[in-house]
């Protein structure tokens, strides 16, 4: 099984390296082949919002940069990890820039899912989502919004499972809780792929 970590730490923000290390260790112990993309080091332009990836070059973004490669890696993973500073309850600019470029992975056509319209699948399988948000100090309202957002994303990206948690940035960061979270979703993804 493949897991892709999208590390959305900001250019001038705090490092998420130690959290990423804990996630990688646990994923590997759960038999995942792990790849991490430190998004701030990659050239990924902002989405142009033109939908050309649906009606001109179906399935491929018209911007020829690392955004294409990130999309290809994501769709061929069983698990994607969003690792990000929580920004007003949402994702960091670095992570969101990459996620906005994932639109070619779904179909333009509408489909009703649980009473709401969404876009149909383009591929047969989509990765499950583990979202790890990090804040300097936990704010409950933003933590709640973050979890709600991840749930919404899992519907629109047709993910079988999703888990989301927000952690406080601390020098003595306790990796046990995060490893437990990784284990929970790894087991679910593993069962799905058996």
């Amino acid at each position: 099984m493949k897991a892709l970590i999208l590390n959305g730490e900001e250019v001038d923000g705090f490092s998420l390296k130690h959290i990423s290390k804990s996630i990688k260790e646990e994923l590997r112990s759960c038999d995942f082949e792990v790849e991490e993309i430190l998004l701030k080091e990659k050239e990924i332009a902002d989405c142009l919002g033109l939908f050309k990836c649906w009606v001109k070059t179906p399935g491929i973004c018209i911007i020829d940069d690392y955004g294409r490669e990130a999309a290809a890696k994501l769709i061929n993973s069983e698990l994607v990890v969003f690792l990000t500073p929580v920004t007003f309850g949402s994702y960091s600019y670095q992570l969101k820039k990459a996620l906005d470029r994932m639109i070619p992975l779904i179909s333009p056509y509408f489909k009703k899912i649980e009473g709401e319209f969404h876009h149909r699948k383009r591929y047969s399988k989509y990765p499950s989502i583990l979202a790890v948000g990090v804040m300097e100090k936990i704010k409950q309202a933003q933590s709640q919004i973050f979890k709600e957002l991840v749930k919404r994303n899992s519907i629109n990206f047709h993910s079988a499972y999703c888990e989301a948690e927000v952690f406080e940035m601390a020098d003595n960061f306790d990796s046990k809780k995060i490893k437990k979270l990784v284990k929970v979703i790894s087991e679910k993804v593993g069962e799905q792929n058996d």
Binding site: L48, P58, G59, I60, S90, L105, F117, S124, I145
Partner: protein
């Protein structure tokens, strides 16, 4: 008593002047202007790209009484560029007000979010994010106008859309009044602006699906519409 003097419209769509965000925001701004408020527009995707422009932009925000942001919904939340912009504003406000324990709420912030789904309710998570931003930046949050069915507009001004946009127009006019008075959006604003432009919803999705096919046909890729270019053997058939 109306005390505001200056309003700025931030357009968060990369499509700039051709976007639904620009149509909505510009109409609302024109109504705000009728209350003798001076107005200005900023296209976020092209006007904060350099350090010099960013400094100029942040200065403008500090000189403004009313900030209106019109943006599309991208992947259930704010477009990346909008997150970047709001982070810059919040950071700058904190730096300016570092001597005070709390930021002053002398500025108002209102949002218009549009999505391509038929249900305007799909914007709800984004509004929560915008409200958190307002709190962090020390702005008075006036509320959000939520609009679905963005696909029907495609760059037209609201007045060109005829009866389809009549409720929306009335709602925006009332919203302008709330904004200049620094009142939270009234129930009538929310009710008028959130009415579906096409009813029932399935007509919108039917026309939408046809529109995607037609555009693909015109681009000679109709048969490729369901292609899976990143499919790997034994995984994603």
């Amino acid at each position: 008593m109306i005390k505001f003097k200056k309003a700025i419209l931030l357009i968060g769509s990369p499509k700039g002047k051709d976007s639904f965000s620009a149509s909505l925001g510009s109409y609302l701004l024109s109504k705000v202007e009728e209350y003798d408020v001076s107005i200005e527009k900023v296209y976020l995707h092209s006007e904060i790209n350099t350090e010099a422009k960013r400094i100029q932009f942040l200065d403008k925000i500090e000189e403004t009484d009313i900030i209106i942001l019109a943006a599309p919904l991208y992947v259930d939340t704010l477009p990346a560029k909008v997150i970047r912009t709001l982070s810059l504003i919040a950071e700058n406000r904190k730096n300016i007000n570092s001597d005070h324990s709390d930021l002053e709420t002398d500025k108002s912030f209102a949002v218009i979010v549009n999505c391509g789904f038929p249900e305007a309710e799909q914007n709800k998570t984004a509004f929560k994010v915008y409200e958190q931003f307002a709190k962090e930046a020390g702005f008075k949050y006036l509320g959000g106008i939520s609009i679905g069915m963005g696909g029907v507009v495609s760059g037209r001004s609201l007045l060109e859309m005829g009866g389809m946009s009549s409720d929306l127009i009335k709602g925006l006019e009332r919203a302008a009044d709330d904004i200049v008075r620094s009142h939270r959006f009234s129930d009538s604003v929310i009710e008028k602006t959130s009415k579906p432009m096409i009813s029932p919803k399935w007509i919108y999705t039917l026309v939408g699906n046809f529109s995607w096919r037609y555009q693909a046909f015109q681009n000679r890729v109709y048969r490729k519409m369901n292609d899976k270019p990143y499919r790997r053997e034994k995984f994603n058939d």
